[in-house]
Amino acid sequence: MSPIDEFRQQARAWLEENCPASQRRPVVKDEQIWAGRDRVFATPDAKLWFERMRDKGWTAPTWPTEYGGGGLSSEEEKVLEKEMARLNCRPALYDLGLWMLGPALLVHGNEAQKQEHLSKIVRGDIRWAQGYSEPAAGSDLASLKTRAVDMGDHFLVNGTKIWTTQADKADWIFALVRTDASGTKHQGISFILIDMRSAGVSTTPIELISGESEFCQTFFDDVKVPRENIVGGLDNGWTVAKELLKHERKLMATMESIVQREDESLVELAAEYIGMDESGKLNDSNIRSRITDQLMTAEALEYLNERLFFQYRSKQVDSGLPLTIKYLGTNAIQQKDELLLEILGNHGLSWQEQSHTPREHNIVQNWAYNKAHTIAGGTSEIQLNIIAKRALGLPA
């Protein structure tokens, strides 16, 4: 047996042994296991599953074991993902530190920073927030104005960040701040790590069209941040940020598979709410035709991902191909949401959970919430700019 097959067998056996049955169902929002000093578990099983995965290092499968990671190769990670998907295992940990900061620290962090932060991320002890956008710096991120003034042994930070995901629950935040305003706007930006307990940090939740408040605005008033919390060197933050954005775009695109797992089959929902005729065709020919559009897009996206996987494996990557994923994936999610809503008819208009079934309410909430996908992590328009320039070589 080849080493990879051996790994597959071991991983499968371990998961079957260690993943509690209750953790093998699609995860609902309230039961996600978010990192943090004050993390709470919805059930004892969730705690057990998290702890077992954490102790195995599989909350961060490919990170080096010296930082508490699993030390797996990317091929082994793929296998592990497949095996987890096969058993329907829930993700054992949710955290922006895990998805975004960690990979960037592995590339740009110094040894002390890796020692200090990585194992805490793997262990889910710290919940991270991201401080990038500002009220006046969205797509034009590099125009950001939050200042960090060099005071010798520390920096004094003043300004505000917006769209900081659940910053009111976060323990630390990684942020882009201006440390030098004299050069071009991409120069003079630094990447800094800030303890949310520091004096002068405050947060205000932002209510969204979905009725949720996942995002906050975060304010910094004369916040003292130790000098050693700069990552990747003073004024070199844009390089680090680009590394992170790569992971965010990948994350947004993989959201599709996360979303897919917790949500609905169009065909089943339509069969239930619209019905079929005696020949097995959906009763609404317009909806039927648009379901075909959506299924063809969604399945084609799976094949595109699979194709990319084979390209990486055979080291023949078309460099333009990965750039398409976020644009296509987020559009596909929204296309599906619109159809789900329409299939529900006037049951697709729920604002209060009590007046409709939880399933109907969930579809409506997701529809509204998922409008964020084509905006967060680089808008669709920015994605198209990137494709036009990098993949197609069109002039600036």
């Binding site: 339509a270 063809m296 094949y303 198209l384 002039p395």
Partner: protein, 372 residues
């Protein structure tokens, strides 16, 4: 879903050959000279020498083992160069049908087809649209009666593979047989259709054509069992050709946008055009992924590629159609001249749409296969 080293070599060989020997100008020549058989025999013979007719045959029949991914690469180049050849009709459909039927024709006919000394055309369509289930041509008492139209490569074929009803009172795709009819048989009339894309199709009348049992290919009354999977494969090959055309159009359009200046700048710097090109690129790669998925499914011996074939054809139709419209528009006034090649791709895309089933046909089939 990625070409291996041999397939990549095949791909570049065919590309270099067609670049040299048969650029799009070769199609113009066929069109303007109203070439009676609809393709250039010398070119076809040279392609056969390069091995294109044996790519997907079994090794017993001299197959080269490049697989369907390899064939897809050849079809892509044919699409890029708008090459008129009997490849789809005589090889991808014709030779494959003979091989799949696995009867005496494998020795009597197949070698000649692979060598290019005989050319096959699959006579299927009868009405305005591809719909094999509505076949009315029928063989009764040893006589074939019926009319076929939009027969791909019909004018250049030496023999026709005619789909006809042989079981009395049968319906749909049941009760059909595949019949080999030589072009010069008594009662056969071939009329050339000059299609908008400069390729050649035929309308064929079979009037009391005498047929004996030896001319039936495969199992009588049960032809569809053999024909359906071959047509699924051919549909994927056609989709690969279409995306070759779409990719060529994207590249030509990008080159034009990087060259043409208005308002003192390259027009490719305009965001209105950049975003449309980026969207076209996304659409192309999405469709390409389905084509590769389908072709590699055949190579892996998966039996049921029907859904993938319909999926690929629909996305290829949408992509090629949109790409050709946008290419004309972005070429501005030049795009609507015959001097520039863009219009030839535009026309070819619409012809490809109709071959082996249009978008409605395949969307309907996809929905049925998915159970809604």
């Amino acid at each position: 879903m990625v070409l291996n080293e041999e397939q990549r070599l095949l791909h570049s060989t065919i590309r270099d050959f067609l670049n040299q020997r048969a650029p799009v100008a070769a199609l113009r020549e066929l069109r303007d000279n109203r070439n009676p058989q609809g393709f250039d025999s010398d070119l076809w013979n040279e392609l056969i020498e390069l091995g294109v007719s044996s790519i997907v045959l079994n090794e017993d029949n001299g197959g080269l083992g490049f697989g369907w991914m390899g064939l897809g690469a050849v079809m892509e180049e044919i699409g890029r160069h708008l090459t008129a050849t009997p490849m789809l009709s005589s090889i991808v459909i014709g030779a494959a049908l003979i091989e799949a039927a696995d009867d005496h024709h494998s020795t009597d006919l197949l070698p000649d087809v692979v060598a290019g000394t005989r050319n096959l055309a699959f006579a299927c369509d009868e009405g305005l649209r591809y719909n094999p289930g509505a076949t009315a041509a029928a063989l009764e008492n040893g006589l074939l009666q019926g009319e076929k139209t939009f027969v791909i490569n019909g004018p250049g074929a030496t023999d026709f593979l005619v789909l006809a009803r042989t079981a009395a009172d049968s319906k749909g795709t049941d009760g059909l047989s595949l019949i080999l009819v030589p072009r010069d048989a008594a009662g056969v009339t071939v009329n050339r259709i000059h299609s908008v894309d400069g390729h050649s199709f035929a309308q064929i009348k079979f009037d009391q054509v005498a047929v004996d049992n030896q001319q039936i290919i495969g199992v009588p009354d049960r032809a569809w069992d053999t024909v359906a999977p071959i047509l699924d494969r051919a549909t994927l090959a056609l989709a690969a050709e279409m995306l070759g055309g779409a990719r060529e159009l994207l590249e030509r359009t990008l080159a034009y946008l990087n060259d043409r200046e208005q308002f003192d700048v390259k027009i490719g710097s305009f965001q209105a055009l950049q975003h449309r090109c980026a969207q076209l690129f996304c659409q192309l790669e999405l469709a390409q992924s389905v084509v590769y998925k389908g072709l590699s499914a055949i190579d892996q011996g998966q039996q049921d590629v029907a859904k993938l074939a319909s999926h690929a054809k629909v996305l290829a139709i949408d992509c090629y159609q949109k790409m050709s419209n946008e290419a004309v528009q972005m070429h501005g006034g030049m795009g609507i001249t015959d001097e520039v090649d863009i219009g030839l791709f535009l026309k070819r895309s619409r012809v490809c749409n109709q071959m082996l089933g249009d978008s409605s046909f395949h969307r309907e089939r996809f929905a049925k296969l998915c159970g809604y």
